[in-house]
Protein backbone atom coordinates (compact mmCIF):
# COMPACT_ATOMS: atom_id res chain seq x y z
CA UNK A 1 0.00 0.00 0.00
CA UNK A 2 2.89 2.34 0.78
CA UNK A 3 4.28 1.67 -2.69
CA UNK A 4 0.95 2.26 -4.45
CA UNK A 5 0.40 5.41 -2.44
CA UNK A 6 3.84 6.78 -3.29
CA UNK A 7 3.63 5.96 -7.02
CA UNK A 8 0.16 7.39 -7.61
CA UNK A 9 0.80 10.39 -5.41
CA UNK A 10 4.10 11.35 -7.06
CA UNK A 11 2.84 10.72 -10.59
CA UNK A 12 -0.28 12.86 -10.13
CA UNK A 13 1.72 15.50 -8.32
CA UNK A 14 4.11 15.73 -11.26
CA UNK A 15 1.22 15.90 -13.73
CA UNK A 16 -0.31 18.77 -11.78
CA UNK A 17 3.02 20.58 -11.73
CA UNK A 18 3.20 20.61 -15.53
CA UNK A 19 -0.43 21.01 -16.47
CA UNK A 20 -2.31 22.77 -13.71
CA UNK A 21 -0.34 23.71 -10.59
CA UNK A 22 -3.30 25.60 -9.10
CA UNK A 23 -5.47 22.50 -9.18
CA UNK A 24 -3.21 20.43 -6.94
CA UNK A 25 -4.21 21.67 -3.53
CA UNK A 26 -7.85 22.01 -4.46
CA UNK A 27 -7.89 18.38 -5.65
CA UNK A 28 -6.38 17.24 -2.37
CA UNK A 29 -8.81 19.36 -0.40
CA UNK A 30 -11.73 17.97 -2.35
CA UNK A 31 -10.53 14.49 -1.37
CA UNK A 32 -10.28 15.54 2.26
CA UNK A 33 -13.71 17.10 2.04
CA UNK A 34 -15.09 13.81 0.72
CA UNK A 35 -13.46 11.96 3.62
CA UNK A 36 -15.02 14.36 6.11
CA UNK A 37 -18.53 14.23 4.67
CA UNK A 38 -18.36 10.50 4.04
CA UNK A 39 -17.27 9.87 7.63
CA UNK A 40 -20.19 11.90 8.91
CA UNK A 41 -22.69 10.07 6.76
CA UNK A 42 -21.09 6.75 7.71
CA UNK A 43 -21.39 7.77 11.35
CA UNK A 44 -25.11 8.33 10.82
CA UNK A 45 -25.47 4.94 9.17
CA UNK A 46 -23.48 3.20 11.92
CA UNK A 47 -25.60 4.80 14.64
CA UNK A 48 -28.72 3.28 13.16
CA UNK A 49 -27.34 -0.15 12.40
CA UNK A 50 -25.17 -0.63 15.48
CA UNK A 51 -28.17 0.22 17.68
CA UNK A 52 -30.25 -2.24 15.70
CA UNK A 53 -27.63 -4.97 15.86
CA UNK A 54 -27.26 -4.55 19.62
CA UNK A 55 -30.96 -5.30 20.02
CA UNK A 56 -30.60 -8.21 17.64
CA UNK A 57 -27.78 -9.50 19.84
CA UNK A 58 -29.35 -8.94 23.28
CA UNK A 59 -32.70 -10.41 22.30
CA UNK A 60 -30.95 -13.65 21.42
CA UNK A 61 -32.17 -13.45 17.85
CA UNK A 62 -28.69 -13.13 16.46
CA UNK A 63 -27.74 -16.38 18.20
CA UNK A 64 -30.74 -18.09 16.62
CA UNK A 65 -29.76 -16.89 13.17
CA UNK A 66 -26.16 -17.85 13.77
CA UNK A 67 -27.16 -21.39 14.68
CA UNK A 68 -28.54 -21.80 11.17
CA UNK A 69 -25.64 -20.21 9.34
CA UNK A 70 -22.90 -21.62 11.58
CA UNK A 71 -22.19 -24.84 9.72
CA UNK A 72 -21.84 -22.96 6.45
CA UNK A 73 -19.79 -20.05 7.80
CA UNK A 74 -17.55 -22.34 9.83
CA UNK A 75 -16.56 -24.17 6.71
CA UNK A 76 -16.31 -21.02 4.60
CA UNK A 77 -14.05 -19.17 7.04
CA UNK A 78 -12.29 -22.18 8.62
CA UNK A 79 -12.70 -20.72 12.06
CA UNK A 80 -14.17 -21.77 15.39
CA UNK A 81 -14.52 -18.27 16.80
CA UNK A 82 -18.26 -18.15 17.45
CA UNK A 83 -18.56 -14.40 17.79
CA UNK A 84 -16.54 -13.61 14.69
CA UNK A 85 -18.49 -16.21 12.71
CA UNK A 86 -21.77 -14.77 13.85
CA UNK A 87 -20.66 -11.27 12.84
CA UNK A 88 -19.41 -12.54 9.50
CA UNK A 89 -22.66 -14.44 8.89
CA UNK A 90 -24.70 -11.33 9.62
CA UNK A 91 -22.40 -9.31 7.37
CA UNK A 92 -23.02 -11.70 4.47
CA UNK A 93 -26.78 -11.70 5.06
CA UNK A 94 -26.85 -7.89 5.17
CA UNK A 95 -24.89 -7.86 1.90
CA UNK A 96 -27.30 -10.24 0.22
CA UNK A 97 -30.31 -8.25 1.36
CA UNK A 98 -28.63 -5.07 0.11
CA UNK A 99 -29.23 -3.21 3.40
CA UNK A 100 -27.41 0.03 2.68
CA UNK A 101 -24.49 0.57 5.07
CA UNK A 102 -25.31 -2.34 7.35
CA UNK A 103 -22.56 -4.78 6.26
CA UNK A 104 -19.65 -2.43 6.95
CA UNK A 105 -19.67 -2.17 10.78
CA UNK A 106 -20.26 -5.92 11.04
CA UNK A 107 -17.49 -6.61 8.55
CA UNK A 108 -14.99 -4.36 10.33
CA UNK A 109 -15.67 -6.02 13.68
CA UNK A 110 -15.50 -9.53 12.25
CA UNK A 111 -12.26 -8.77 10.39
CA UNK A 112 -10.68 -7.41 13.60
CA UNK A 113 -11.61 -10.57 15.50
CA UNK A 114 -10.40 -12.88 12.74
CA UNK A 115 -7.05 -11.10 12.57
CA UNK A 116 -6.63 -11.01 16.35
CA UNK A 117 -7.25 -14.73 16.31
CA UNK A 118 -4.49 -15.13 13.73
CA UNK A 119 -6.91 -16.29 11.04
CA UNK A 120 -5.83 -14.23 8.03
CA UNK A 121 -7.56 -16.64 5.69
CA UNK A 122 -10.98 -15.79 7.17
CA UNK A 123 -10.27 -12.05 7.05
CA UNK A 124 -9.21 -12.30 3.40
CA UNK A 125 -12.25 -14.38 2.51
CA UNK A 126 -14.65 -11.97 4.21
CA UNK A 127 -13.01 -8.99 2.54
CA UNK A 128 -13.03 -10.53 -0.93
CA UNK A 129 -16.69 -11.56 -0.64
CA UNK A 130 -17.55 -8.00 0.44
CA UNK A 131 -15.39 -6.46 -2.26
CA UNK A 132 -16.96 -8.51 -5.06
CA UNK A 133 -20.39 -7.04 -4.45
CA UNK A 134 -22.35 -9.98 -3.12
CA UNK A 135 -25.74 -8.38 -3.70
CA UNK A 136 -28.98 -9.90 -4.90
CA UNK A 137 -30.66 -6.69 -6.04
CA UNK A 138 -28.72 -3.87 -7.72
CA UNK A 139 -31.03 -1.17 -6.33
CA UNK A 140 -28.85 1.85 -7.20
CA UNK A 141 -28.49 0.80 -10.81
CA UNK A 142 -32.21 0.16 -11.22
CA UNK A 143 -32.96 3.61 -9.78
CA UNK A 144 -30.46 5.26 -12.15
CA UNK A 145 -31.94 3.42 -15.13
CA UNK A 146 -35.41 4.55 -14.17
CA UNK A 147 -34.15 8.12 -13.91
CA UNK A 148 -32.60 7.87 -17.38
CA UNK A 149 -35.95 6.79 -18.82
CA UNK A 150 -35.31 3.12 -19.38
CA UNK A 151 -38.16 1.04 -20.78
CA UNK A 152 -36.98 -2.02 -18.87
CA UNK A 153 -35.15 -0.82 -15.75
CA UNK A 154 -34.89 -4.30 -14.23
CA UNK A 155 -33.62 -5.76 -17.49
CA UNK A 156 -30.02 -5.89 -16.22
CA UNK A 157 -30.98 -7.88 -13.13
CA UNK A 158 -30.06 -11.31 -14.45
CA UNK A 159 -26.71 -10.49 -16.10
CA UNK A 160 -25.68 -8.44 -13.04
CA UNK A 161 -26.60 -11.24 -10.68
CA UNK A 162 -24.71 -13.82 -12.73
CA UNK A 163 -21.67 -11.55 -13.13
CA UNK A 164 -21.50 -10.75 -9.45
CA UNK A 165 -22.01 -14.38 -8.45
CA UNK A 166 -19.18 -15.30 -10.78
CA UNK A 167 -16.86 -12.62 -9.40
CA UNK A 168 -17.57 -13.67 -5.79
CA UNK A 169 -17.02 -17.29 -6.74
CA UNK A 170 -13.74 -16.52 -8.50
CA UNK A 171 -12.60 -14.33 -5.59
CA UNK A 172 -13.50 -16.95 -2.99
CA UNK A 173 -11.80 -19.69 -4.97
CA UNK A 174 -8.64 -17.61 -5.40
CA UNK A 175 -8.47 -16.94 -1.66
CA UNK A 176 -8.98 -20.64 -1.05
CA UNK A 177 -6.30 -21.66 -3.53
CA UNK A 178 -3.71 -19.15 -2.33
CA UNK A 179 -4.19 -19.86 1.37
CA UNK A 180 -1.27 -20.76 3.56
CA UNK A 181 -1.42 -24.48 4.22
CA UNK A 182 -1.92 -25.38 7.83
CA UNK A 183 -0.91 -28.57 9.56
CA UNK A 184 -4.49 -29.67 10.06
CA UNK A 185 -5.91 -31.61 7.10
CA UNK A 186 -8.05 -29.34 4.96
CA UNK A 187 -11.80 -29.45 5.37
CA UNK A 188 -13.35 -31.44 2.57
CA UNK A 189 -14.83 -28.74 0.39
CA UNK A 190 -15.25 -25.05 0.34
CA UNK A 191 -18.80 -24.16 1.41
CA UNK A 192 -19.92 -21.31 -0.74
CA UNK A 193 -23.43 -21.02 0.77
CA UNK A 194 -23.86 -17.79 2.68
Amino acid sequence: MNGIFAVIFIASCALFLFSNPDGFLSAMLSGGQKAATLSLSLLAVYCVWLGFFKILERSGLSEKITRHTMSATRRLFRSDDKEALSLAGENLSANLLGLPGAPTPLGIKATKRFIEGGNDYAADMLFVLNATSLQLLPTTVIALRLAAGSALPADIFLPTLLATLLSSLIGGTLVFLTRKRRKKPALSREGRAA
Binding site: F5, M28, A131
Partner: protein
Protein backbone atom coordinates in the same frame (compact mmCIF):
# COMPACT_ATOMS: atom_id res chain seq x y z
CA UNK B 1 -40.22 -3.72 -7.21
CA UNK B 2 -42.37 -1.95 -4.65
CA UNK B 3 -42.08 -4.67 -2.02
CA UNK B 4 -38.36 -3.97 -1.89
CA UNK B 5 -38.87 -0.85 0.17
CA UNK B 6 -40.74 -2.94 2.73
CA UNK B 7 -37.69 -5.00 3.70
CA UNK B 8 -36.01 -2.49 6.02
CA UNK B 9 -39.03 -1.25 8.03
CA UNK B 10 -40.38 -4.80 8.34
CA UNK B 11 -37.01 -6.00 9.59
CA UNK B 12 -36.80 -3.28 12.25
CA UNK B 13 -40.39 -3.89 13.34
CA UNK B 14 -39.85 -7.63 13.67
CA UNK B 15 -36.61 -7.29 15.62
CA UNK B 16 -37.91 -4.58 17.98
CA UNK B 17 -41.07 -6.57 18.77
CA UNK B 18 -39.00 -9.70 19.31
CA UNK B 19 -36.77 -7.67 21.65
CA UNK B 20 -39.81 -6.52 23.63
CA UNK B 21 -41.05 -10.09 23.96
CA UNK B 22 -37.62 -11.10 25.24
CA UNK B 23 -37.78 -8.20 27.75
CA UNK B 24 -34.83 -6.34 26.26
CA UNK B 25 -34.58 -2.72 27.48
CA UNK B 26 -34.81 -1.27 24.00
CA UNK B 27 -33.66 2.25 24.80
CA UNK B 28 -30.64 1.24 26.91
CA UNK B 29 -29.69 -1.41 24.43
CA UNK B 30 -29.95 0.84 21.39
CA UNK B 31 -27.78 3.51 23.01
CA UNK B 32 -25.23 0.84 23.96
CA UNK B 33 -24.98 -0.08 20.32
CA UNK B 34 -24.65 3.52 19.14
CA UNK B 35 -21.79 4.00 21.61
CA UNK B 36 -19.62 1.86 19.34
CA UNK B 37 -20.23 4.03 16.29
CA UNK B 38 -17.82 6.85 17.10
CA UNK B 39 -14.77 4.68 17.97
CA UNK B 40 -15.42 2.67 14.81
CA UNK B 41 -15.37 5.79 12.63
CA UNK B 42 -12.30 7.14 14.42
CA UNK B 43 -10.42 3.93 13.77
CA UNK B 44 -11.07 3.98 10.01
CA UNK B 45 -10.95 7.74 9.43
CA UNK B 46 -7.19 8.19 8.74
CA UNK B 47 -7.19 5.41 6.13
CA UNK B 48 -10.37 6.69 4.56
CA UNK B 49 -8.95 10.20 4.32
CA UNK B 50 -5.65 9.08 2.74
CA UNK B 51 -7.50 6.86 0.28
CA UNK B 52 -9.98 9.53 -0.80
CA UNK B 53 -7.30 12.21 -1.17
CA UNK B 54 -5.32 9.81 -3.33
CA UNK B 55 -8.40 9.02 -5.45
CA UNK B 56 -9.08 12.72 -5.95
CA UNK B 57 -5.49 13.29 -7.09
CA UNK B 58 -5.67 10.27 -9.38
CA UNK B 59 -8.84 11.48 -11.07
CA UNK B 60 -8.25 15.21 -11.24
CA UNK B 61 -4.60 15.12 -12.31
CA UNK B 62 -5.62 13.42 -15.53
CA UNK B 63 -3.67 10.32 -14.55
CA UNK B 64 -6.89 8.31 -14.50
CA UNK B 65 -7.64 9.39 -18.06
CA UNK B 66 -4.14 8.47 -19.23
CA UNK B 67 -4.39 5.03 -17.67
CA UNK B 68 -7.85 4.59 -19.20
CA UNK B 69 -6.64 5.54 -22.68
CA UNK B 70 -3.69 3.23 -22.28
CA UNK B 71 -5.76 0.28 -21.14
CA UNK B 72 -8.88 0.54 -23.26
CA UNK B 73 -7.41 -1.40 -26.22
CA UNK B 74 -6.55 -4.18 -23.78
CA UNK B 75 -10.07 -3.99 -22.39
CA UNK B 76 -11.49 -4.37 -25.89
CA UNK B 77 -9.54 -7.59 -26.18
CA UNK B 78 -11.51 -8.90 -23.21
CA UNK B 79 -14.80 -7.83 -24.80
CA UNK B 80 -15.28 -4.72 -22.66
CA UNK B 81 -16.47 -1.86 -24.87
CA UNK B 82 -13.99 1.08 -24.78
CA UNK B 83 -16.83 3.47 -23.92
CA UNK B 84 -17.17 1.97 -20.45
CA UNK B 85 -13.48 1.45 -19.70
CA UNK B 86 -13.28 4.62 -17.62
CA UNK B 87 -16.19 3.35 -15.53
CA UNK B 88 -14.46 0.01 -14.97
CA UNK B 89 -11.23 1.76 -13.95
CA UNK B 90 -12.74 4.37 -11.63
CA UNK B 91 -15.10 2.03 -9.82
CA UNK B 92 -12.46 0.47 -7.52
CA UNK B 93 -11.37 3.95 -6.42
CA UNK B 94 -14.49 6.00 -6.15
CA UNK B 95 -18.15 5.17 -5.67
CA UNK B 96 -19.40 8.68 -6.31
CA UNK B 97 -17.11 9.13 -9.31
CA UNK B 98 -18.32 5.93 -10.94
CA UNK B 99 -21.96 6.80 -10.25
CA UNK B 100 -21.41 10.09 -12.06
CA UNK B 101 -19.81 8.30 -15.03
CA UNK B 102 -22.65 5.76 -15.13
CA UNK B 103 -25.39 8.37 -15.29
CA UNK B 104 -23.40 10.24 -17.96
CA UNK B 105 -23.13 7.05 -20.04
CA UNK B 106 -26.84 6.37 -19.58
CA UNK B 107 -27.84 9.80 -20.89
CA UNK B 108 -25.30 9.63 -23.72
CA UNK B 109 -26.07 6.15 -25.04
CA UNK B 110 -29.50 5.47 -23.56
CA UNK B 111 -30.16 3.00 -20.75
CA UNK B 112 -31.43 0.25 -23.04
CA UNK B 113 -28.55 0.32 -25.54
CA UNK B 114 -25.83 -2.32 -25.42
CA UNK B 115 -23.34 0.19 -24.00
CA UNK B 116 -25.86 1.37 -21.43
CA UNK B 117 -26.68 -2.14 -20.28
CA UNK B 118 -23.01 -3.12 -20.18
CA UNK B 119 -22.26 -0.06 -18.06
CA UNK B 120 -25.05 -0.96 -15.63
CA UNK B 121 -23.85 -4.52 -15.26
CA UNK B 122 -20.24 -3.39 -14.87
CA UNK B 123 -21.29 -0.94 -12.19
CA UNK B 124 -23.58 -3.36 -10.37
CA UNK B 125 -21.25 -6.32 -10.38
CA UNK B 126 -18.12 -4.56 -9.10
CA UNK B 127 -17.25 -2.79 -5.87
CA UNK B 128 -15.17 0.08 -4.54
CA UNK B 129 -12.32 -2.30 -3.70
CA UNK B 130 -9.78 0.22 -2.41
CA UNK B 131 -12.28 1.90 -0.16
CA UNK B 132 -13.41 -1.40 1.36
CA UNK B 133 -9.83 -2.54 1.80
CA UNK B 134 -8.93 0.75 3.54
CA UNK B 135 -11.86 0.39 5.91
CA UNK B 136 -11.74 -3.34 6.62
CA UNK B 137 -8.00 -3.61 6.99
CA UNK B 138 -7.56 -0.27 8.80
CA UNK B 139 -4.28 -0.25 10.66
CA UNK B 140 -3.10 -3.57 9.35
CA UNK B 141 0.41 -4.32 8.05
CA UNK B 142 0.32 -3.46 4.38
CA UNK B 143 1.98 -6.69 3.33
CA UNK B 144 -1.09 -8.60 4.41
CA UNK B 145 -3.37 -6.40 2.40
CA UNK B 146 -1.89 -6.79 -1.06
CA UNK B 147 -3.01 -10.32 -1.80
CA UNK B 148 -6.71 -9.96 -0.94
CA UNK B 149 -6.88 -6.58 -2.72
CA UNK B 150 -5.37 -8.00 -5.90
CA UNK B 151 -7.72 -11.00 -5.74
CA UNK B 152 -10.72 -8.73 -5.33
CA UNK B 153 -9.63 -6.55 -8.26
CA UNK B 154 -9.07 -9.56 -10.51
CA UNK B 155 -12.38 -11.13 -9.53
CA UNK B 156 -14.24 -7.88 -10.16
CA UNK B 157 -12.58 -7.50 -13.55
CA UNK B 158 -13.52 -11.03 -14.59
CA UNK B 159 -17.05 -10.35 -13.36
CA UNK B 160 -17.25 -7.32 -15.65
CA UNK B 161 -15.88 -9.35 -18.57
CA UNK B 162 -18.55 -11.97 -17.97
CA UNK B 163 -21.20 -9.27 -17.55
CA UNK B 164 -20.42 -7.69 -20.93
CA UNK B 165 -20.61 -11.11 -22.54
CA UNK B 166 -23.93 -11.84 -20.81
CA UNK B 167 -25.36 -8.51 -22.02
CA UNK B 168 -24.80 -9.71 -25.57
CA UNK B 169 -26.61 -12.99 -24.99
CA UNK B 170 -29.39 -12.12 -22.55
Amino acid sequence: MKWLSLIVPALFLAVFIFGLVRRVKLYDCFTDGVKEALPLILSVFPYLAAMLILSALFEESGLAKMVTDFLSPAFRLFGIPPEISSLVLIKPFSGSGSTAILSELLTQFGPDSYIGRCACVAYGSSETVFYISAVYFAGLKTKKLIKPTLIALAANFLGVVAGCLLCRIL
